[in-house]
Amino acid sequence: MVKIAVYPPNSLILADLLERKGHTPLVLQKQIRQKIKDPEIDSPPMNISEEDPIKGLKYAAIEVPSGVRGRMSIIGPLIDEAEAAIVVDGAPYGFGCIGCARTNELSIFLLRNKGIPVLELTYPTNQDETYVMVNQINEFVDSLEETAEEE
């Protein structure tokens, strides 16, 4: 079982396809759940506390806007945990849950720079492209399994 980061981190299709293959998708909802079950946060839905931009300093410099650092404090641990990653490119406007283009760029940059296997896909718009996407994901996951077995 490999822990695979998906981007966008709340994707239904990517997470489901990985779970079907028996792997663990690292999704943002799990991080959010941890956050909202934290008894110290008493003013929901303001789920970002003043601690978060400080935690985000691990992933982004102090000059980076606090919004990016606050977001990175939630996404960052997922990137740290990732053993592989699947990134979808060319998605329509509004796709994904981050709501910040710079955070998206930084997260994808960190995933690419981490030295883990990364599969980059194009957002499918028709049936043939979807066949290719599903085949690519399956091949990628199978290759990860083979590598894990060799080790």
């Binding site: 709340n10 994707s11 929901p44 796709f95 849950c97």
Partner: protein
């Protein structure tokens, strides 16, 4: 916007339990089961779960062990058309539930976009094809672009 800011919700014991998880079950286009059938199947499992019927499928909440067991069973109804996804907030949580606030629920837009290609994914899972080739989209040739541009300019005059 003040209507959208709810007060601290009155959460029960289960809501604070880190082992309690929530999952959304989506029924893709062309499925052989209905939302109601899925919900009935969940009830018939007899597991201690909170089950909610929704427009896209259903939502279940409970101890992670029970939830994963239920999902494994429910997928058997229609493996290629039933999709599942994690959810951070419990069903009916006032911070997300539309019964307590205005506007679409956060996460709805992503769901709407993915639902559009969910039918293609189901088809790809049902009838896998290996030899699919996609034509590379190429930009318009410069000469042709010039020709079209000149035609447009002439028509304008």
């Amino acid at each position: 916007m003040s209507q959208n800011l709810t007060m601290s919700p009155d959460l029960g014991k289960e809501d604070w339990d880190p082992d309690v998880i929530t999952r959304m079950i989506f029924i893709g286009p062309g499925a052989h089961v209905s939302e109601q059938e899925v919900v009935t199947a969940f009830h018939m499992l007899g597991l201690p779960l909170t089950i909610k019927n929704t427009c896209y499928g259903s939502m279940i909440s409970g101890k992670s062990e029970d939830v994963y067991k239920a999902i494994k069973e429910i997928r058997k109804l229609d493996p290629n058309h039933i999709f599942t996804k994690e959810r951070g907030f419990a069903p009916g949580d006032p911070r997300r539930c539309r019964g307590h606030r205005f506007g679409p629920r956060e996460g709805f837009h992503q769901m709407e976009k993915e639902y559009r290609i969910l039918g293609f994914v189901s088809e790809a899972l049902e009838n896998p094809k290996d030899d699919v080739e996609i034509e590379d989209k190429k930009p318009v040739d410069v000469d042709e672009f010039k020709k079209i541009m000149n035609e447009c300019l002439e028509n304008k005059e």
